[in-house]
C-alpha cells in the first residue's frame, strides 16, 4: 500500500463483549486498502466472525471506530445505516443456511438490487431496467447457467449454492466483500473453484476483501496481507509473502506448522 489516502477501511481499537463478559474482540486495529485482500487467520473462537459481524453492523462494537470511505460506520443508524450497508457485503460459510429455502434463486439473487433501486453497478449499467437480465448476468458471472434462476436452493449442490451467494454478494458492487470461511462447508474438490472465482471477481470488479479462513494455504493464495488473531486480539499482521519468514510470531509459526505437519 502506498498512500494513507488509499485506505478503504480503517479500524481502530475495536472491542466487543458478548453478554457483558465474553470478550470476543479487544483493541483490534488495522486497515484495508482499495482493491486489497486482507486475510484473517486464527483458531476457532479467536473472534474472526465477530469482526465480520461488526463490520456488517449486525452487532455493535463496545469501543473503537470503523471508518469506511471516510464515514464513521460505527455511528450510523436507521435509514442512513441501511443505505450504507450496500458498501459492505458478505459471503457466509454455509450457503445452505444463507439462502432462504423457500425462495427461488432469482428471488434470492435479486433481493439486494431490489432494495437499492438507485444503485447501478457498472457491470449491470446497460440492463439496469430489466431485473431478469440482471439476474441472468449475475448468474453467468459466477459460472451458473441462467436457466437455473427458477430453481430452489435444494436443487443445487453446496458449491452451486455458494456461487449463488457470491452472486448476491457482488450484486451491489460493494467496496468491501467479507468472506467468512466461504469454502469451509464445501467439498474439497470444489473449494479451489470457489477460491478462483472469488479471486477473479475481485480483480474484475476492483473490490476489497476481508478473507477469513482456517485454511492457511487458501488465505495465502487469496490475500495481499494477513492478519493473525488469538483470543480476540491481534497477534500480528504482515504481507502474505512474509508468512514463512523467520521473524513471524511463534503463534503464527504454530498455525503454519499445524497444516504443514
Amino acid at each position: 500500500m502506498t498512500a494513507q489516502t488509499n485506505h478503504l477501511l480503517t479500524v481502530s481499537n475495536l472491542s466487543m463483549r458478548y453478554n457483558k463478559h465474553v470478550q470476543a474482540l479487544s483493541g483490534v486495529s488495522f486497515q484495508i486498502g482499495t482493491g486489497e485482500c486482507l486475510g484473517v487467520v486464527g483458531q476457532s473462537g479467536s473472534g474472526k466472525s465477530t469482526l465480520a459481524r461488526l463490520l456488517l453492523r449486525l452487532d455493535q462494537p463496545d469501543e473503537g471506530e470503523m471508518m469506511l470511505l471516510g464515514q464513521p460506520l460505527h455511528k450510523l443508524k436507521g435509514e442512513a445505516l441501511r443505505q450504507w450497508r450496500r458498501h459492505v457485503q458478505i459471503v457466509f460459510q454455509d450457503p445452505a443456511a444463507a439462502l432462504n429455502p423457500r425462495l427461488s434463486i432469482y428471488q434470492s439473487v435479486m433481493e439486494p438490487l431490489n432494495n437499492y433501486p438507485q444503485v447501478t453497478p457498472v457491470f449491470l449499467r446497460d440492463i439496469r431496467h430489466s431485473p431478469r437480465e440482471m439476474a441472468e448476468r449475475l448468474l453467468s458471472m459466477v459460472g451458473l447457467p441462467p436457466e437455473w434462476l427458477n430453481r430452489k436452493p435444494h436443487q443445487l449442490s453446496g458449491g452451486q449454492k455458494q456461487r449463488v451467494a457470491i452472486a448476491r454478494g457482488i450484486s451491489l458492487q460493494p467496496d468491501l466483500l467479507i468472506c467468512d470461511e466461504p469454502t469451509a462447508s464445501l467439498d474439497v474438490s470444489v473449494q479451489a473453484q470457489i477460491l478462483n472465482l472469488l479471486k477473479d471477481l475481485q480483480e474484475q470488479l476492483g473490490m476489497s476483501y476481508l478473507f477469513i479462513s482456517h485454511d492457511i494455504a487458501a488465505v495465502r493464495f487469496m490475500s495481499n496481507r494477513i492478519l493473525v488473531m488469538k483470543e480476540g486480539q491481534l497477534v500480528e499482521q504482515f504481507d502474505a509473502d512474509q508468512l514463512l519468514a523467520a521473524e513471524r510470531h511463534p503463534y503464527t509459526q504454530q498455525l503454519v506448522q499445524a497444516v504443514t505437519a
Binding site: L56, L58, R82, Q83, R85, R86, V88, Q89, I90, F92, D94, A97, A98, L99, N100, P101, R102, L103, E111, P112, N115, Y116, A165, R168, L172
Partner: protein
C-alpha cells in the same frame, strides 16, 4: 383402521368441513322447513317422510335446525379464529422480532392468561359480559390469540438469528419486509395446524357455553343451545339431544383430524 385414519386424516377433516359448507349453502333449498317456525300441533313427532329427523317440543323441524346450526357454528368459528389470528400473529411477529420491552410487555399479558385454563377464562368473560353469543365469541378470541402469538414468536426468535435472515439485513432489506418475506412464511405451517385444532376447540366452547345458557339464546338453532333446549326431554325423547350431540362430535373430530394430519405432514417433510 387407525392406519387408514392417520393416512387420510387431512382429507377426512377437509371432508367434514366440505360437508358443513355444503349443508350451509344447499340445506335451505333441500329442506323445505323454517328452522324457527313453531307448530304446536306437530310437537315431538318421530321421523317420517316430511320431517326426516322428526320435530322438537315446539314442532320445529329438527333437520332444518341442525342445518341452520351448521351455518351458525361455521360462521361464529370462522369469525373467532380470524380475529384470534389477526391479533395473535402480528403480536407474535412484533414480539419475536423486536424483542426487548415490547416482547416483555406482550409476554406478561400472555403469562397472566395462560395461568388459567382457556375454558375458565372464557366462562368468566362470558359471564361478566352477560349471556349472548357475541360475548362468547369475544371471550374465545381473548383466550385464543395467545396460542398464535406464542407459536409465531417462538419461530421468529429461532429464525431471526439464522444466516438467511442476517443475509437479508446485510442486503438492505427493511425490517418489515424481512418479517413478511422471510419470517412469516416460516411460521405459517405451524399456525395453520394450530388453527385447525383450535377450530374444534372453539366449536366445543361455543356449544358448551351455549349449553350452559351463556351463549346462543333460544330460539337460535345453535347446536349447544339445542342440547340445552332438549335436556328436559332427555328421558322421553333422547334423540333430540343425540342429534346435535353427534353433529358437534363429528365436526370437532373433523377439525382434530385435519390439525393432526397437517402436523404429521409438517413433521414428515419439514417444509411444504
Amino acid at each position: 383402521m387407525a392406519g387408514f385414519i392417520n393416512r387420510y386424516a387431512v382429507w377426512i377433516g377437509l371432508g367434514v368441513w366440505l360437508l358443513l359448507a355444503v349443508m350451509t349453502l344447499l340445506g335451505p333449498y333441500l329442506i323445505p322447513h323454517d328452522p324457527l317456525a313453531v307448530d304446536m300441533g306437530k310437537r315431538l313427532q318421530t321421523a317420517d317422510a316430511t320431517h326426516w329427523l322428526g320435530t322438537d317440543h315446539f314442532g320445529r323441524d329438527v333437520l332444518a335446525r341442525l342445518v341452520a346450526g351448521a351455518k351458525i357454528t361455521l360462521g361464529l368459528t370462522l369469525v373467532a379464529i380470524s380475529a384470534a389470528l389477526l391479533i395473535g400473529v402480528p403480536l407474535g411477529l412484533l414480539s419475536g422480532y423486536v424483542g426487548g420491552v415490547v416482547d416483555a410487555a406482550v409476554m406478561r399479558v400472555v403469562d397472566a392468561l395462560v395461568a388459567f385454563p382457556d375454558f375458565i377464562i372464557a366462562i368468566s368473560i362470558a359471564g361478566i359480559l352477560g349471556p349472548d353469543v357475541t360475548h362468547v365469541v369475544i371471550a374465545i378470541v381473548l383466550v385464543k390469540w395467545i396460542g398464535y402469538a406464542r407459536v409465531v414468536r417462538g419461530t421468529v426468535m429461532t429464525e431471526k438469528g439464522k444466516a438467511y435472515v442476517l443475509a437479508a439485513r446485510v442486503a438492505g432489506t427493511p425490517g418489515v419486509k424481512t418479517i413478511f418475506r422471510h419470517l412469516l412464511p416460516q411460521a405459517l405451517p405451524e399456525v395453520l395446524v394450530l388453527a385447525a385444532l383450535d377450530m374444534g376447540k372453539i366449536i366445543l366452547m361455543i356449544s358448551a357455553l351455549s349449553y350452559l345458557g351463556l351463549g346462543a339464546q333460544p330460539p337460535m338453532p345453535e347446536w349447544g343451545a339445542m342440547l340445552n333446549d332438549a335436556k328436559m326431554m332427555f328421558q322421553t325423547h333422547p334423540v333430540l339431544m343425540i342429534y346435535p350431540g353427534v353433529a358437534i362430535f363429528l365436526v370437532v373430530l373433523g377439525c382434530n383430524l385435519l390439525g393432526d394430519g397437517l402436523r404429521d405432514r409438517l413433521d414428515a417433510r419439514g417444509e411444504w
